[in-house]
């Protein structure tokens, strides 16, 4: 029995009988605490959401909570303004975020899946040491790696945004960022998948071996199909991580509007528009749309990814 079940009053009492009322009254403080804390937690988000639908005049002179007294003033003009081309490049940044996040998810997940398999089911010298090293790398500050990678990109490969855009090949300007995210995401990807693979019953592998399945067959026909939940968790985790990333994008692609993702763009807007601008509220909410949709629809997988990744620093 869970604590929740244990703590439930054994309410066999008939409804509205004195005992029923007593049972339920005694739990009021609990409900008030739970709902109160949750509501308090929601206040910052709700405040921003309400503000984003208020005109500039309202935002600058009164708190968001006063808006409910006068609901007619709500407007979507903040959104139309912020999304209109020319002022903020937010639309461009939105697509850029996709162009960055999708490949930067596909790469570490697929490379990681192949690499995780030997860590889980093959014996080779150095396996445990390598795995431990990967776990260690999970917590290494990425800052430690920026300067050499960046100078390699710029001074040796001449991979600057300008040079790469000049080639005219679509997608090329993001390649430095994709590869960097792949490198940074791989330790976690391998860690999560190897642990999942390892938990598959060994009988399945032995049975497949007797049935005549080779390494490739076992991987593609047994391991991968059985690992769909883990792969889904990883994909969502990595996608949100990259989508929400500011630092890595800032370092490797910087603020050039044609390539910068939403986070960089939004951070830039706080400087260019000045903090407290009415447009910022709308821009912030716009940047949250995709993560919130992913979170609300695939929450189960996301939480599982977080749980598995509790060692990721």
């Amino acid at each position: 029995m869970t604590v929740a079940a244990a703590a439930q009053p054994t309410s066999s009492a008939t409804m509205f009988s004195p005992r029923w009322i007593a049972d339920h009254l005694s739990r009021w403080p609990l409900h008030i605490a739970v709902i109160g804390l949750t509501a308090a937690w929601m206040v910052p988000t709700i405040g921003l959401l309400v503000s984003s639908f208020r005109p500039f005049s309202g935002q600058a002179t009164s708190g968001w909570w006063t808006a409910f007294a006068n609901p007619t003033t709500f407007t979507i003009s903040n959104y139309t303004q912020v999304l209109s081309a020319g002022t903020t490049n937010l639309g461009q940044a939105f697509f850029n975020s996709f162009m960055i996040s999708v490949p930067a998810t596909v790469l570490p997940v697929s490379i990681g899946a192949f690499a995780a398999y030997p860590f889980a089911w093959m014996k080779f010298p150095g396996r445990n040491g390598l795995f431990l090293a990967l776990v260690g790398l999970l917590a290494v500050p990425l800052q430690l790696t920026f300067i050499p990678v960046l100078s390699f990109y710029v001074q040796h490969l001449h991979w600057t945004t300008n040079n790469l855009e000049a080639t005219g090949i679509p997608g090329l300007p993001w390649v430095p960022l994709w590869l960097a995210h792949a490198g940074y995401g791989l330790p976690f990807s391998i860690y999560l998948l190897a642990n999942f693979f390892r938990a598959l019953p060994s009988d399945l592998f032995e049975s497949a071996e007797i049935d005549g399945a080779g390494t490739l067959t076992v991987f593609f026909r047994i391991v991968l199909p059985l690992s769909v939940p883990a792969l889904a968790s990883l994909v969502i985790f990595q996608f949100l991580w990259v989508w929400n990333d500011l630092l890595v994008a800032l370092i490797y692609v910087g603020g050039t509007p044609s390539v910068a993702p939403l986070t960089v763009n939004l951070a830039g807007l706080t400087t260019s528009l000045g903090q407290g601008s009415n447009l910022l509220t709308a821009a912030a909410f716009f940047s949250m749309i995709v993560p919130l949709i992913v979170f609300l629809s695939l929450q189960r997988y996301f939480v599982r990814g977080i749980l598995a990744g509790s060692v990721k620093g």
């Binding site: 029995m1 604590v3 929740a4 079940a5 609990l30 605490a33 739970v34 949750t38 937690w41 929601m42 910052p44 988000t45 921003l48 935002q59 909570w65 697509f95 999708v102 596909v106 697929s110 490379i111 192949f114 690499a115 030997p118 776990v135 790398l137 917590a139 290494v140 500050p141 800052q143 430690l144 790696t145 920026f146 300067i147 050499p148 100078s151 390699f152 679509p170 590869l179 791989l186 390494t215 490739l216 593609f220 929400n244 500011l246 630092l247 370092i251 986070t263 939004l266 951070a267 903090q275 910022l280 940047s287 949250m288 993560p291 929450q299 939480v303 977080i306 749980l307 060692v311 620093g313």
Partner: protein, 349 residues
């Protein structure tokens, strides 16, 4: 919004989504074809390296080797191309880069950032998050609508720290005394406590050398974002405690508080330690909130931001490398502790 951009990008995305796995699969299949050509006894020695090869190359190229090069760079002056081993040592400055970071205690060099990271962030961020996470997990465990409230608390985990910073910029907004307050926090302060509005992000109370208030304001925003993470993991641990144990304690005459203190808390301790160490690492690596909300001004600098600052605004790659190494040195003890935990968990498998 200009949707033609989308049309132009979709083919590229498709090429990547399909191309990457196909190329990888082709590589693995090709590798396996070669492995089968080998004598039986060599196959198990060669095969794993084919499978882990691409991953190891990327991890080495982006994490391991750069980290080592940064360590070298931190001992050189700025005009060294750290990727060219021929130049190593030509501009060797010893620990000068570090000396500059450690100069003029307690306000010069990196001291403010170090203090903020290893005192303010490490202590308050970790403890606030653990306490909130634990309270929420325990309370939510007792109501039927647990899943719903949990996902509301967890939601900030899904949004970017930039958006989080903006949300809290609005919470902390300041208007001069007498004018209507537009920030939620100041509205509370002025109406509930009849106190003058507080400039949360600039106010260096109680003093410039120990400016707790604005640092706490930043830490509070970050805590708000991460508490869902702690809550979810702690809640999973809480559910792992057999209900019979709690019932036994209640039958033995323990009140709810005693049950929590003497049974629940000790049993959750290993999980609390894991969450705590992870939070410590997060605290040491804090960047986004500071970047978005204060840019390290008013003595709110942190190491990760200082490193960025040295690299881009001061064009001081030697100094930036030194700061990165300082950050690493701060993380390493926690990292070793985490690895020990990891090994202990592995040993129990």
């Amino acid at each position: 919004m200009d949707f033609s951009l989308l049309l132009q990008d979709i083919p590229t995305l498709l090429v990547v989504i399909l191309g990457v796995p196909v190329v990888l699969a082709a590589y693995i299949v090709g590798g396996e074809y070669l492995v089968r050509r080998l004598p039986d006894k060599n196959r198990p020695q060669v095969r794993p390296w084919i499978w882990v090869g691409p991953a190891l190359i990327l991890v080495a190229a982006y994490l391991l080797i750069p980290a080592i090069l940064t360590a070298i760079q931190s001992l050189e002056s700025n005009n060294v191309d750290v990727l060219d081993p021929g130049t190593w040592g030509t501009n060797f400055v010893g620990f000068k880069n570090f000396a500059r970071q450690f100069a003029d205690f307690p306000t010069g060099g990196a001291w403010v950032a170090i203090r903020n990271n290893v005192i303010f962030w490490l202590i308050f961020y970790t403890i606030f998050t653990l306490i909130f996470g634990l309270i929420l997990a325990v309370l939510f465990d007792r109501v039927k609508y647990e899943q719903f409230v949990k996902s509301l608390i967890f939601m900030p985990m899904a949004i970017s720290s930039v958006a989080l910073g903006l949300i809290w910029d609005f919470m902390y907004e300041y208007q001069p005394p007498g004018e209507p307050q537009t920030g939620t926090m100041n509205a509370l302060v002025t109406t509930l406590f009849h106190h003058d509005p507080v400039s949360w992000l600039q106010d260096q109370w109680p003093g410039e050398s120990f400016n707790l208030l604005n640092n706490l304001a930043l830490i509070g925003a970050a805590t708000w974002g991460i508490t869902g993470f702690a809550m979810v993991i702690l809640s999973a641990a809480l559910k792992g405690i057999p209900g019979e144990l709690l019932e036994a304690a209640r039958v033995d005459g323990a009140g709810e508080i005693t049950v929590f203190r003497r049974v629940i808390l000790p049993l959750m301790m290993p999980t609390i330690v894991v969450v705590g160490t992870t939070l410590v690492i997060f605290a040491l690596k804090a960047f986004d909130v500071v970047y978005v909300m204060t840019s390290g001004n008013y003595n709110t600098d942190v190491l990760a931001y200082r490193m960025y600052n040295q690299l881009y605004l001061a064009s001081n790659s030697g100094g930036a490398s030194a700061v990165a190494i300082i950050l690493l040195v701060a993380v390493v003890p926690v990292l070793i502790f985490n690895l020990r935990q990891f090994r202990a968990v592995e040993a129990r498998r």
